[in-house]
Subunit: 155 residues, 2 copies
């Protein structure tokens, strides 16, 4: 059973990035104008249920998709630009599987995402500007640690 679903599948196969549904729809419509976004949603869901696609959440509200690969790779997201970099780390797979087993589970899938900021080679150690260790006498605000944070100056 197929129709314009083939088009969506094709777009997915050709994608080497991590498109969201909106983007998939745009690409699919370019190949066949009589595709509706509902179909894209339906197809994508179907494929995800069958384990052929994986849904990702890189922040920014919309789900993004990529074809399941059985040699796993992970993602590093540049928090300033939103750009996604893939990397491999096959050792992890094994390590994490072992962790799951130790807890009594079979590992079905996993999610590993790093969020980072591009290193400016200029400044050697940007770590926490130094000083600023005794800014406020820290008024007592109930014994609630989270509440306490609400009282400090915004950033």
């Amino acid at each position: 059973m197929t129709g314009q679903r083939r088009v969506v599948a094709r777009v997915l196969s050709e994608a080497s990035d991590h498109p969201d549904v909106e983007e998939l729809y745009r690409r699919a419509a370019r190949l066949d104008a009589r595709i509706s976004i509902a179909t894209v949603y339906r197809t994508v869901r179907l494929l995800e249920e069958r384990g052929i696609l994986e849904r990702r959440d890189f922040g920014g509200g919309r789900a993004r998709y990529e074809a399941t690969e059985h040699g796993h790779h992970y993602h590093l997201i540049d928090i300033d630009t939103g750009k996604v970099i893939e990397f491999q780390e096959p050792e992890h797979q094994r390590l994490l599987r072992a962790v799951a087993e130790r807890l009594g589970f079979d590992l079905v899938s996993l999610r590993l995402e790093l969020f980072g900021r591009r290193r400016s080679p200029a400044m050697a150690e940007p770590r926490r500007a130094a000083g600023r260790a005794d800014a406020e006498p820290a008024e007592p605000v109930a014994a609630e640690p989270v509440a306490a944070e609400l009282v400090r100056p915004a950033r």
Copy 2:
């Protein structure tokens, strides 16, 4: 500046699980009935921006929250029950930081979630039921790997 925000903060401090906004609202309302869910959303966003809370996505549509800990732990989600188990793995932190650096980034935060299924000690190797290797002659469906998957019987 605070008000019923203190209540939300308190609920958050006391939570040892990973409540979603709905649940936070329920708990907060128990302590002070004149809190609206909009306030919970606002407070939670505020705290997330300040880095005091972390938003999690364990599947199931709603965001879930937990207080930021600087000794990181990770999550294993039971895909059958939705139950979340925390585990530690301090070695990882370092390892992943190194990975990021190698790619030219400072690691700002990371997300590591395992999705697993409780092991039934009964059946030794549930792996893929055996047999069933030659179900269909695999009709040619364009050269699209994703499309090909759409043709196989559902599960």
